[in-house]
């Protein structure tokens, strides 16, 4: 149970960072932390103490193994997060070229 609570605390750290930080790069890093927290939590759902990897076991499916499906899901989600992070960093570079700052309180031509 403790690991789940720690995982949730990590998610909250990410949300806190997104909501309070004023620097574009710190916001992107906080989004990364949120993503890691969720990935870690899904991996933990599949974890079983003392079990082996499904791909390493030779003697049929009745042996003690961890659930391999969440690991496949997390691989997909890591790739998606990589793409989104690259996109966000590219946008941050363009914003810096246009506004000469990373401070979101100074990047506000759109309002209302």
């Amino acid at each position: 149970m403790t690991v789940y609570i720690l995982c949730f605390a990590l998610l909250l750290v990410g949300i806190y960072g997104v909501l309070t930080k004023r620097d574009l790069i710190k916001i992107i890093l906080s989004l990364g932390i949120m993503g890691y927290a969720v990935n870690l939590m899904i991996i933990l759902f599949a974890y079983k103490k003392g079990a082996g990897f499904a791909i390493m076991l030779r003697d049929g499916i009745n042996t003690n193994m961890v659930d391999p499906l969440p690991q496949a899901l997390i691989l997909t989600s890591i790739v998606i997060e990589l793409g989104i992070t690259a996109m966000l960093v590219a946008l941050a570079i363009r914003l810096f070229q246009k506004y000469k700052t990373f401070d979101i309180t100074k990047i506000r031509r759109l309002s209302g």
Partner: protein, 491 residues
């Protein structure tokens, strides 16, 4: 089976466009128009052959629950028709509009990816697959919002991308919890398993999904990104985002998950009604104060999504009919209004209502179709918006939700007020405009005329004989909560 092609064709077109396009965008236009016409034909064919039946396609020879399945029922084929119809008119509008920007072929490749994502979200029957396709659509949408390359567009796109990533992370968390408690990812199996589990699991996951998909569909407390993103994007993309993206990723996913998987518990219907009525009133009020035409239309989108959500929240058969009909109508008239705004922006170089004037002489097609669309969104007979709003209000009265009915009436009066403002200042103002910077091309005109005709023609869907073959099967998919499980698993 039709459904896999609705995903394969636009994905293939996106790759081919990026492979064969050079400096010119001619081949990109030909390929994307061909792809979207075939998609629309397939979608219409599947809509009229589905009826009350359900077809399930299991990928690569595996069986449910081991495989990723695609589910074709009345609701998904109805949404597919809307998406591909708006996509076709949007492409017709894009051809000359997007040549203002650099390297237009990139636009068509991203546009095809956007359609791939939306078709995938609608077609899929697997909840993790829904997340993946949603990310494909959103990735294309972030890039397309920033396509113009101005400072405001990057700002809007960054805001949209941050909010979108937060909501996607929440949705992934919800998917993880659902998998942990039910050990399956197929939606129908999840629905069957959840009936035997502790209902607290469902409430937790539903709360997370409410925040996640609420952000995607821009319901009122989660709406902050929408006015920036939808008003900064190029006009055909604004119409895709406002017309179909918030419905495919937001409203459609909410219907599928809350009605078909969770079985529509009363507490969430109440939340839908409250959030819907807040969206209607506050967004209409905010729209009144706007002078930027596209920003006004973006706020109007939030308010119309409120009507759809109110209809879903009331939850009687009539209310859901109104909500489903309003999804179609809002896609038609809001896309048309964004085309009008784009045409005016191209011809005059401004979106400010105070700088426009009397456009009836110079741009007869644009001002005529904008009048039809304004009357339609404001809910005046005989246009389609009148019937869907009337149905939602009657359903609210019938189910003894008098307060919500009054809110809906006030909301449609406010809508009428701010569209009178658009007509008064934007298209029928004092200073008569005679010369334009750029003329409006035939493709743009025909896109506007097609949607203006549909504004009138869509009203006939409500006539009893036609309603029974078009809208009623959709309503029955939403209303019969357990029939979805039976039709996917128990074949």
């Amino acid at each position: 089976m039709i459904l896999p092609f609705l995903i394969i064709i636009p994905l293939l077109a996106a790759f081919l466009i990026s492979l064969i396009s050079g400096e010119k965008d001619n081949w990109a236009i030909v390929l994307s128009i061909l792809a979207v016409i075939s998609l629309l034909a397939l979608a219409i064919f599947s809509f009229f052959t589905t009826g009350n039946k359900t077809f399930v396609y299991e990928m690569s020879g595996w069986k449910i629950p081991l495989t990723i399945c695609l589910v074709q029922d009345a609701l998904s084929s109805f949404m597919l028709v809307i998406v591909n119809l708006i996509a076709l008119t949007s492409l017709m509008f894009s051809v000359t509009y997007i040549r203002q920007h650099d390297s237009p072929w990139k636009y068509y490749a991203l546009f095809m990816l956007l359609i791939t994502g939306m078709n995938g979200v609608i077609a899929t029957g697997d909840i993790f697959n829904l997340y993946v396709f949603m990310e494909i659509a959103l990735f294309a949408a972030y890039a397309l919002v920033a396509f113009g390359g101005k400072a405001e567009e990057y700002e809007a796109s960054f805001k949209y991308a941050v909010m979108g990533s937060i909501s996607s992370t929440l949705i992934l968390l919800g998917v993880g919890i659902l998998y942990a408690s039910t050990s399956t990812l197929t939606m129908a199996n999840i629905a069957a398993e959840l009936q035997t589990k502790n209902p607290m699991v469902m409430y937790w996951v539903a709360a997370i999904f409410m925040a996640g998909f609420g952000l995607k569909s821009a319901i009122m407390p989660f709406h902050a990104w929408l006015p920036d993103a939808h008003s900064s994007a190029p006009a055909p993309i604004s119409s895709m985002l406002s017309g179909v993206l918030i419905k495919a990723l937001g409203i459609y996913a909410i219907i599928r998950i809350f009605y078909n998987i969770f079985g529509a518990p009363q507490i969430f219907l109440t939340i839908f009604m409250v959030l819907g009525s807040i969206s209607i009133i506050v967004a209409s009020y905010l729209a009144m104060g706007q002078w930027d035409l596209k920003r006004l239309l973006a706020y109007s989108s939030i308010s119309q999504i409120g009507f759809i959500l109110l209809g879903l929240g009331i939850g009687t058969k009539l209310a859901i009919l109104g909500a489903v009909f309003h999804i179609l109508n809002h896609a038609i008239f809001k896309s048309l209004l964004f085309y009008n705004a784009g045409a005016v922006e191209m011809a005059l170089g401004t979106r400010d209502l105070r700088k426009m004037g009397n456009l009836r002489g110079a741009m007869p097609v644009t001002s005529g179709t904008s009048m039809i669309a304004s009357l339609s969104v404001a809910g005046l007979p005989p246009f389609n918006g009148f019937f869907s709003k009337l149905i939602i209000i009657i359903a609210a009265v019938q189910s003894n939700n008098i307060i919500y009915a009054i809110i809906a009436v006030i909301g449609s009066l406010l809508t009428l007020a701010y569209f009178m403002k658009v007509q008064r200042y934007g298209f029928n103002g004092e200073n008569k405009i005679t010369e334009l910077n750029q003329s409006i091309s035939l493709g743009m005109k025909s896109a506007m005329i097609i949607l203006a005709v549909l504004c009138v023609v869509a009203s006939i869907l409500i006539i009893p004989g036609i309603r029974e073959v078009t809208l009623d099967p959709v309503v029955s998919v939403i209303m019969n909560k357990t029939a979805y499980i039976q039709s996917v698993i128990g074949r």
